[in-house]
Symmetry: C2
Subunit: 359 residues, 2 copies
Amino acid sequence: MKKDKPNSAENQDSPEIFNKTVLKKIQQARMAQPSTEELISGILAGEINALSRAITLIESSNPNHFLKANEIINACLPHANQSIRIGITGVPGVGKSTFIEALGKHLSNQGKKIAVLTIDPSSSISHGSILGDKTRMEELVKAPHVYVRPSASGETLGGVARKTRETITLCEAAGFDTIIIETVGVGQSETAVHSMVDFFLLLQITGAGDELQGIKRGIMEMADAIVINKSDGDNIQKTALAKTELGRALHLFPSKKSAWIPIATTCSAKTNEGIIEIEQMISKYIEQTKNNGSFDSKRAEQNEFWLLETINDQLKHHFYSNTEIQDILEKTKKAVQNNEYSPFAAAQLLLETYFKSKT
Amino acid sequence: MKKDKPNSAENQDSPEIFNKTVLKKIQQARMAQPSTEELISGILAGEINALSRAITLIESSNPNHFLKANEIINACLPHANQSIRIGITGVPGVGKSTFIEALGKHLSNQGKKIAVLTIDPSSSISHGSILGDKTRMEELVKAPHVYVRPSASGETLGGVARKTRETITLCEAAGFDTIIIETVGVGQSETAVHSMVDFFLLLQITGAGDELQGIKRGIMEMADAIVINKSDGDNIQKTALAKTELGRALHLFPSKKSAWIPIATTCSAKTNEGIIEIEQMISKYIEQTKNNGSFDSKRAEQNEFWLLETINDQLKHHFYSNTEIQDILEKTKKAVQNNEYSPFAAAQLLLETYFKSKT
């Protein structure tokens, strides 16, 4: 330790007894940091405190935490997978929070235990655009057996998705039987959510008349239901029209493996109109897909998807973070864009550089 | 050489002069194998023989040929990229060959030079399902300045796509101003074709009433036009109805970067009804996209797409062909599907094995 360090304990005029107190407090704090075993048994006993601490380990970038988190996840796995997972997406302003609050309260009244998670890859830029202000879902968090956890931030979508997916496992092991995952649909986040839920719901509001132009490419094919929110007051007629138009559009897509026919419907999260029906629709979906086996096969497919997706992500990450590749990539891209070089020959060159390099 | 080899020249009773003749012929054949430089100048002079030989080099799995092919492609690149590239897809039975023949003859009559290529990743299984019988497009191949080349076969989609994309470059350098690429849409082949053409056309026929259920997921979003073929005789009314329905469906998709509004129309490749209008529609598209800059920006994006796609393909190929990975992959997949192991932890394990291995 440098002798001239001004704030070190040794240089202060405090009596010896103070330093001992500080030391004891640090030791106690260390003692209070629960072991992996304690966290596991805490989670399995449904303790929110243990659950939250374990999720923090999942979200941590510390390699030690990573190992601990994996240990906890693997211990939780046999106790997980018993919940219903519902994905909810929609652009900002459609009322996702209010909707989740209304649906969540209805489920809570039925005795369900609900965990609400978010996927928000934009939060690193906007500093938490979805759940940044903690006042949201104010009423829902007060309901019994409800756990609201905002997204891990400052990450790639792949990273956020992994953390959310593993958080689902812990929440399920802690006894939550309904997991709601919300996303604002930045980048490919709705695809990520779709790949980790049983039921995928697109929330909409009525627009300037052409209801479909506002819907992001590909998202309608993923939806098990489109719910037009804010169907209240002067808006009721407009939402009814939108329901008809969207219902017709949904019909145009090829049928799903689950044999489920996607539904367009309306609701008002404000007045609670239609919320019960939406809960019943989801129950019907779960019943139907459990009966025809597609519920389980979809989950098995989703697990394999995340295995292969993670491998692919990491292979690319390893390639693009190679310093030799970084040195030449932009120049190569430009040359390829300008037809100075065939894309395939250029790729070959980069790959040779990569595989020869020692990193 | 084994002395008892029954058919070797030395053991035959033929006079010495015969063996010399054979030898000379072999030498001549070797001499006739043109150099890379000869092939390049031949292609640039529009010689079909040189073009065909160079494409054979592209299609070869011999590493020497690969190097030669790359040399030729790079020499051709500055002379390429001046054509219009048209992609045509549709399920078997919609009449792709007849349609291409009709469109091709019309273009040929206008003095265009047309190359027809195919992407058919299924050909390794079905032994050439698209152009296996060489009697197809019989009339078109007789037209002046028309070159028909079937797909490279026995390959992955990535391999076939690369070869087709590089064949386009050679055809363009050889002076072909219209490149038509046909695919039956097996696997992701229509996505591959879409990523190498300027105009993407989906060919359809009328079905049992619900025109849209038969269309493969995602393909409608890619189409710049849907053409309902076989609009002749008793079929005219049905195709007109399908045109209306498909036109409405196309309208539902978000608008394209090119600002082009996709069109549904009808034709009869048999009677030539509508073929001129389709050619005019494509010309209008090219004019519009060249004017608003999206023609060039789309091509630059496509080049970058193939660069990144090839890198990703090869990274995955390298990973999955690793013997240590192959030994444990299936078992790991099963464990993940059955929730015995988290997909992310399993991926991590596989990746560690891969990066530690020496191959």
